[in-house]
Amino acid sequence: MIEPKDVEYVAWLARLDVSEEEKEKFTRQLGQVLEHAEKIKSLDTEDVDPTSHAIPLKNVMREDETGPCLSQEEALSGAPRTQGGYFVVPRII
């Protein structure tokens, strides 16, 4: 079953800081939901194909044509920080 270290790992993968309290809560709640989900494991699906799309379509493509872009100003309009036309982010290590 799911343990606090699993929650810690998943939180890291999801880039989500969790407090000690949340870690404890999520361990319990995810455990509950996953326990409920356990029952699908018992189904025999050996010869069953997975479904990604309920309505099957194929080969949906567009022609290679260019269209208008956003202006630089529009592109940056929601940005928390910008500089010289760039988005600014903290350093990457």
């Binding site: 993968l13 880039r15 194929k58 080969n59 044509e65 260019t66 956003l70 630089q72 988005f87 990457i92």
Partner: protein
């Protein structure tokens, strides 16, 4: 290193030559003001959806076929999930377990014989944006903050993965050159390593000679030229060899090639291993390429470099070496063939291109598309030599002037008054002068020292500032020396 075998596999990314991006209609070409070639889709704004570019699929199929891959009758896209600020959605749409092309190969003609490099897969994915690390040194670790430009985000990429069939850095470089030339001939990619439209990572490991098992590998990144690829691999093989020889162990890691210091260094290791959480991209539907599509692409495949190489040898009589070098780049081969079409003798054109022209390109670090002369101008210059208007030696300076100005050889020759002197009377005058001034050499020649003749020819050439027709001088000089004797 004795008893050890080098094992190299390459992972190549090439930007496809489409007008628009992979999943949106933004301009896909290189450059532009930062963040001026973006739209809601390639910026990953909330609510947007991708729509696949048909041309990207066509180009990918073209390359996969040229690399003898099987084209998957059914392929899908996955999401590769990881956080990085140059990736707008924090996942990359990429083909994962059902790529477009699988199981191909590329043959390399090496000195050691034909080397067949297996192609594991060819698949489509989207490019990321570009991060500029803002610091004085430009290094990641020193920077206070980083800048993101998403113009490149969403440009279609082809990923090509080879089998670990490469055994030497030279083979690796040859593979890349051949692949680049193929992509140029197919008009699939611009293949500009310096602009990042062609990139290459390498997996390098060593194992005991004859062992079927692979050794622990290091992944080498940041090699942005053929030279860098060669040097980095050479270094990495040495490093691993030394490590193993001294009883150490190779660690599986990603290493960064630093061209300045000429070494590879480990990238900071992650706390956890990569866990990309691949799953089928629900916003795209499967690709089911039918036979008529695939056959259509196959039928439209142009001549490939290997075919061209044979043709240049068989039809134009070029030596293997020349044909190989000229077809290492489509632009070079095109230039050459155009010069031949304009009347140049093939071997002469090849010599000029591999000699003076290549030297010029290297010295100025430019592409052949950037030189101001046309193939026809090269052919016309060669014709002037053939007609005896200029000597081969003068031609070199004429060619230099052509490359500098873009002018025709004939114009330059006229302007500078450097036509070859073939007027016997004039030449005899200079010859007599030379004989008069160099009695010792004349004596030597008469004693049977052939070398002395060369010296005297040189003197005549000097007096005519190199314009004398050397064959004629030779003949006339011999005649006067012998006539006097």
């Amino acid at each position: 290193m004795s008893g050890l075998e080098v094992v190299i596999g390459l992972e190549i990314h090439a930007e496809l030559k489409t007008l628009s991006k992979m999943f949106c209609s933004c301009d896909a070409s290189f450059g532009g003001e930062p963040n001026s070639r973006t739209c809601p889709v390639c910026l990953g704004l909330p609510g947007v959806l991708p729509v696949l570019n048909r041309k990207a699929v066509e180009l990918a199929t073209r390359l996969a076929l040229a690399l003898h891959c099987d084209i998957a009758p059914y392929s899908i896209f996955h999401r590769k999930n990881y956080f990085y600020p140059d990736m707008p959605k924090n996942f990359q749409i990429s083909q994962y377990d059902l790529p477009l092309g699988i199981g191909g190969y590329l043959d390399l003609e090496m000195e050691e014989g034909r080397v067949r490099v297996g192609i594991t897969r060819v698949h489509l994915e989207e490019d990321t944006g570009k991060t500029v690390h803002a610091s004085e040194s430009g290094r990641i670790h020193d920077s206070e903050y980083s800048l993101e430009d998403f113009n490149r985000a969403g440009v279609p990429l082809l990923e090509i993965v080879t089998e670990p069939d490469i055994r030497t850095p030279i083979q690796a470089r040859m593979f890349m050159q051949e692949l680049k030339s193929i992509m140029e001939h197919l008009e699939v990619s611009d293949c500009k390593m310096e602009e990042g439209s062609l990139r290459c990572d390498a997996n390098v490991s060593l194992r005991p000679q004859g062992s079927p098992q692979l050794g622990v590998k290091a992944e080498v990144k940041n090699m942005n030229s053929f030279r860098a690829l060669y040097r980095a691999l050479d270094y990495e093989i040495m490093r691993q060899g030394d490590l193993l020889a001294s009883g150490g162990e190779v660690v599986q890691e990603t290493r960064h090639w630093d061209a300045d210091s000429g070494v590879t260094t480990p990238l900071r290791t992650k706390e956890y291993a990569y866990d990309y959480r691949y799953f089928p991209e629900p916003d795209l539907v499967p690709l089911q390429l039918d036979l008529s599509f695939i056959d259509g692409v196959r039928a439209g495949l142009p001549e490939l470099p290997s075919q061209r190489r044979s043709r240049l040898q068989e039809d134009l009589g070029l030596p293997e070496h020349d044909a190989g070098l000229l077809t290492s780049s489509k632009a070079l081969a095109d230039f050459f063939e155009a010069a031949v079409d304009a009347g140049a003798e093939p071997k002469a054109a090849s010599n000029w291109m591999m000699g003076e022209l290549s030297a010029h390109l290297n010295a100025h670090n430019i592409e052949i598309s950037e030189v101001p002369i046309t193939p026809a101008q090269l052919a016309a210059m060669i014709a002037l030599i053939d007609k005896g208007v200029i000597s081969g030696k003068i031609a070199k300076s004429v060619f230099e002037a052509m490359l500098a100005s873009g002018n025709d050889a004939e114009t330059i020759v006229k302007e500078k008054g450097i036509t070859q002197i073939s007027d016997e009377e004039e030449l005899v005058r200079h010859i007599e002068e030379a004989i008069r001034e160099n009695p010792a050499s004349v004596e030597d020649y008469r004693k049977g020292k052939e070398k002395a003749l060369g010296f005297l020819v040189g003197q005549v050439m000097r007096k005519t500032k190199g314009r004398a027709n050397p064959q004629l001088v030779n003949e006339l000089l011999r005649r006067s020396l012998e006539g006097e004797g």
